[in-house]
Symmetry: C2
Subunit: 172 residues, 2 copies
């Protein structure tokens, strides 16, 4: 699958085939893709918590208002931000980590698509109560930034993205 095709074929998938496997090899390829994303000062401020446990998925479902489809997903990957000490020191001035993690998520989703999986991005950060609830459930010190569900798609929604010329300005 070319980059051109994958970017245009990606959809947010909210219906998954229950019980579909996600082999470790595919998971590795997907997470490697995420970790190949660029990051400010090469800080690589990310961490990935892969949840397959039905009990923990159920806890997440109850804690997140827009994550009902987690039950049938093969895994929920919680992408967490782990700002570098320098970034934390600089405070607001240097807070690039959510952007870095978002780039990693886009890689993750495109790579998953190429392997035949569907994904959906469920936002956490900067909604503090969502971050706190998920952090407690998965037991991390980092900042849960988003949940990406991965599974076999059981729906084929229409495309929502498109080129919008009104959003482009050229300065020649």
């Amino acid at each position: 699958m070319t980059v051109y095709q994958a970017i245009r074929a990606r959809r947010s998938i909210r219906k998954y085939v229950p019980g579909a496997p996600l082999p470790q090899e595919d998971l590795h390829t997907i997470l490697e893709a995420a970790m190949m994303a660029p990051s400010a000062r090469n800080g690589r401020p990310w961490e990935f918590v892969v949840v397959r446990s039905p009990a923990v998925k159920e806890q997440i479902r109850q804690a997140h208002p827009y994550c009902a489809y987690i039950t049938d997903a093969s895994a929920a990957i919680v992408v967490c931000g782990r700002p570098s000490p320098e970034e934390q020191k600089e405070g607001e001035r240097g807070e690039f980590w959510p952007q870095d993690c978002a780039a990693a998520i886009e890689n993750l989703m495109l790579q998953a698509l190429e392997l035949g999986y569907g994904t959906v991005w469920c936002g956490l950060y900067p909604v503090k109560d969502r971050c706190d609830a998920i952090r407690e459930i998965i037991g991390v010190d980092s900042v849960p930034m988003a949940i990406v569900l991965v599974g076999r798609p059981d729906e084929a929604p229409d495309a929502r993205g498109y080129f919008d010329p009104t959003r482009v300005k050229e300065i020649d």
Copy 2:
């Protein structure tokens, strides 16, 4: 080029072939890819200012501490955030737009790579003085969030991304 290959071949390119063209057709394909990114509530909170003018590129170079390579890039694409009225109203609670724009940038860079271009991501937001300076130069109401340079690569740096097992936690 497959997604697998592109994600692993991408590098930050800081040296460009001076005067290399960026045809409108390629620019369209690249910006379309950016606008195919997912966004919170499908808000599509982005705007793209494509700077080719040598005079304006020079102004940006002087305003941004880490953007010296702009001179030889075919274009500088300033990705700007345009939060929806709902998102602005909710304030901190709903600020997903930098993540949405970051996903768009990752698409942009992968698509540019497939077409034979190199790119580098120069951060602006949330460094307020950088955002303000660039906003003034390019004349927008939105928030300049990052500058992505696009051009013909004149270097082939080593890969910096890699799979790091210490950043993965599995909950089965």
